[in-house]
């Protein structure tokens, strides 16, 4: 036997042994896939989020010994924010673990769109917290989608309410010019429908301006903004596009305090590269902001003091890290909820779906979990897969994010008819049977 053959044989025996060992262990484990990105153009934003998610699952395992004794097995797959790679990751991970994937967080609206078609067939719920299809909050049609905490229509509406408040009412917006600078992808296009609706209602001019992936070339866009002098610019960017927008705004002298980013354009990696140019820039908050709360003390005690954290301690508490924590916590609580009905054992995606749909987090429970001050209570139902529609506005003061508004609720008298119409259209196109939510418990 040559050396090469010997090595190959040894390796295959080792691999087979490992595979056997892992099936033996896997009996009381809940598998959760993580579609994240630590490489590529969007890595600066993907990394802190991924760290938050990984740390929360690790915390639940370390502190509580899993969810009611069921250990979480979490596996990351790097999508690079590309839809094709995201689908590939999903296909690779969906059947792992004793019961398959509990749920999937695509962390990309494009991937969410793709998985929306697959989820009902594979019976795996899609949690798209703060992103995804805005009409997918209608659970009667989108049984498997959960855009928890807020859709882009909610985000756009909250920003418009804030602007209206500053101007002295929605009627004062008449004749104003509002531009949306957006990532030319399903993500960036989401708020257009709501903003067009608001423009029609209040008589302001709305101009969407696309920026192509990855968004480092925006000179033409900002020269047009300089020439057209809009009153406000809304920013729907992601990754390096955000900091480039802010830098270009500074370069053409557009006032940064008249710029409002969505909650994916309002984290530290978005403003820091622009240095002084970012001062005054506003962004919507997906409820939480930056800072450390109850849960962070546990993270320090159980992970970081033992050298088991994924991030560096000074990054713990940044906006996107916290969002990763929140995202993982909602998933864990949904599994916990599902366990009350199906038993304290690894659950299937279909069982976890019930858990998400019946998820309710009271203020007291949030405090217990250490998320007091980060989130408001939420209640998911069959007809409302968003759970809550609250948000605030924050402003970058040059060194940190400062919350500058009270809580807003997106206006359901505007949103609900749009959601229903869009969901109905989707159901008709796909010939879906619509659930009657009034008959669901």
């Amino acid at each position: 036997m040559t050396l090469r053959k010997a090595v190959l044989l040894g390796a295959s025996i080792a691999a087979a042994g490992l595979a056997l060992a892992s099936t033996a262990q896997a009996q009381n484990e809940q598998f959760i896939p993580g579609l994240i990105y630590r490489t590529g153009a969007y890595a600066p934003n993907g990394i802190p989020f991924a760290n938050g998610v990984a740390d929360y699952y690790a915390l639940v395992n370390e502190r509580d010994g899993g969810i009611n004794g069921v250990k979480i097995v979490y596996e990351e797959c790097d999508t690079g924010y590309a839809t094709d790679r995201g689908v590939e990751c999903y296909e690779r991970l969906k059947n792992k673990g004793p019961t398959g994937a509990a749920y999937v967080n695509p962390l990309s609206t494009g991937i969410t769109f793709a998985l929306t078609e697959k989820a009902p067939i594979d019976k795996i719920p899609v949690i798209s917290m703060g992103y995804g299809r805005s009409e997918s909050r209608d659970g009667s049609v989108f049984q498997w989608n959960f855009p928890l905490l807020g859709t882009y229509w909610s985000a756009a509406d909250i920003i418009m309410q804030h602007i209206a408040l500053k101007e002295g009412g929605f009627d004062k917006l008449k004749g104003k010019k509002i531009v949306l600078v957006y990532h030319d992808s399903p993500y960036g296009k989401e708020p257009i429908a709501l903003l067009e609706q608001r423009a029609k209602m209040h008589g302001f001019t709305f101009t969407p301006m696309p920026v192509t992936h990855p968004g480092v070339e925006q000179k033409a866009t900002w020269l047009q903004i300089r020439q057209n002098r809009p009153d406000y610019v809304l920013l729907w960017g992601w990754g390096v596009m955000n900091s480039t927008s802010i830098k270009e705004a500074a370069a053409v002298g557009f006032p940064r305090d008249k710029m409002f980013g969505v909650w994916w354009s309002g984290a530290e990696p978005d403003v820091r590269p622009a240095e002084g140019g970012a001062k005054g820039y506003h962004a919507a908050m997906l409820q939480h902001g930056a800072g450390q709360f109850g849960v962070h003390a546990d993270l320090k005690k159980y992970l970081y003091d033992k050298g088991k954290g994924s991030a560096k301690w000074d990054e713990v508490g940044e906006v996107l890290y916290n969002r990763g924590l929140v995202n993982a916590m909602l998933g864990v609580e949904a599994i916990r909820k599902a366990q009350t009905k199906f038993g304290k054992k690894p659950l299937t995606g279909e069982q976890v779906r019930w858990g998400i749909e019946n998820l309710e987090l009271s203020a007291a429970r949030l405090k217990e979990l250490g998320f007091d001050g980060m989130l408001q209570p939420l209640k998911v139902t069959c007809s409302d897969h968003e759970g809550t529609r609250a948000g605030r506005i924050q402003q970058w003061d040059g060194a940190k994010w400062v919350v500058v508004s009270d809580w807003y609720q997106s206006d359901d008298t505007v949103l609900k008819p749009m959601v229903n119409a869009a969901a109905k259209k989707y159901a008709d196109e796909k010939k879906l049977t619509v659930r009657d939510c009034s008959k669901e418990s």
């Binding site: 957006y182 030319d184 696309p210 480092v216 866009t221 390096v240 370069a251």
Partner: protein, 374 residues
């Protein structure tokens, strides 16, 4: 109307110069080896990451000590190699008093560099110039590794095989660079002016907006082009490069060392990548998207011709100005006519512009017309 037009035109031309800088790297390698080097973008990213991380503009996130040690070692070896090479030349020529002084100066410079590197490391980060020098040495080493491990095995293969090999190199470098240095956004502080200039405020309302940072970048790029043109036309190595480009086998048969030539050309294009990375990195922040700028160089190359240095420059200017003007003035018309959701045409417009040129000049504006008799 004239004001906005001029402003867009100037902005476009300046961006175009930066595209040219990336396109130049492609042209160099294509000229010398007939290879379309898909890894040029990855090399730009790798060089920029190395400079940014070594020079320590890192937002308080530290780099592994081993990286500094290895970078210092590579720089040391490079300085030693240049010293050794000079010493050999010196022995060969016979030592005169003037030559001896040159050697003494060289040794002093080497010692000084080493000393400063060691001293600076004690303070945590390196000054920019030292980081640039180390990165230049690292790009040289990279060129050597590529020649030794990839190209040498593919001598006299079809161009497409070499192209596929560079695809592999691109993927490897993208991953390797991010593994080594991280994938966050890092800063290179070149000290480029940031405040916009407003020219002719008396003539146009609001003046013409010009980014002074881009002016400086354009000047650096122009300087680089002049140096490269001289290198190709006037030096012995430059002539050898052109001979290799024409025919590998024929060049080898007249005694041109193919492997050395490839090493030189990859080093030079590595240095061009360094310059591009330095400027793009200072402008956009060093992060992965820099490697995608290479895609912008493609229409530039199609337009300017794959073998022409001036072609890369003129092509860059036309593409830069063309795409910005089209986005600002053509897109709104298209949006109105065809009811599009906004513009965003600049990305594909550059390619369309290049294709239209191809209809009339298939070899590009400055490319060599290929006549093959069969």
């Amino acid at each position: 109307m004239l004001g906005p037009f001029l402003e867009t035109l100037i902005g476009g031309l300046l961006t175009g110069v930066l595209y040219s800088l990336v396109a130049l790297g492609f042209v160099l390698i294509f000229k010398a080896s007939g290879v379309f080097n898909f890894a040029q973008g990855a090399m730009v990213l790798f060089a920029a990451l190395t400079i940014a991380r070594l020079s320590g503009e890192i937002d308080g996130k530290e780099v592994h000590l081993a990286n500094f040690v290895v970078a210092a070692a590579i720089l040391g070896v490079a300085v030693a190699f240049i010293g050794w090479y000079a010493w050999r030349e010196y022995i060969a020529r016979g030592a005169g008093p003037g030559e001896r002084r040159k050697m003494q100066v060289l040794a002093a410079v080497g010692a000084l560099v080493g000393g400063i590197a060691a001293y600076s490391y004690g303070k945590g980060a390196w000054p920019l110039w030292l980081a640039i020098a180390a990165t230049a040495a690292i790009m040289g080493l990279l060129a050597y590794a590529i020649e030794r491990l990839v190209l040498r095995h593919l001598v006299n293969q079809e161009g497409i095989i070499l192209f596929m090999a560079t695809l592999g190199i691109a993927n490897f470098l993208d991953g390797f660079g991010q593994t080594l240095w991280g994938s966050d956004i890092y800063k290179i502080n070149l000290g480029l002016p940031k405040d916009p200039l407003f020219l002719f405020e008396g003539v146009f309302p609001g003046g013409l907006l010009v980014d002074p940072g881009e002016l400086v970048a354009a000047a650096i790029a122009a300087g680089l082009v002049v140096v490269l043109a001289i290198f190709f036309q006037k030096t012995r190595v430059g002539r050898a490069l052109r001979a290799v480009a024409d025919d590998h086998a024929a060049a080898q048969s007249v005694g041109i060392p193919l492997n050395t030539i490839w090493l030189i050309v990859w080093t030079v294009s590595g240095l061009v990548a360094l310059a591009a990375g330095l400027i793009w990195g200072a402008k956009l922040g060093v992060q992965f998207s820099i490697s995608l700028i290479a895609l912008k160089a493609l229409p530039v190359l199609i337009l300017g011709g794959f073998t022409s240095v001036p072609g890369a420059i003129v092509g860059g200017l036309i593409i830069g100005a063309g795409e910005k003007l089209s986005e600002v003035f053509l897109a709104p018309i298209l949006v109105k006519q065809f009811d599009l959701a906004g513009g965003g045409i600049e990305n594909w417009f550059a390619y369309m512009l290049a294709l239209v040129f191809l209809l009339f000049r298939p070899q590009g504006l400055f490319g060599e017309r290929i006549i093959e008799r069969v």
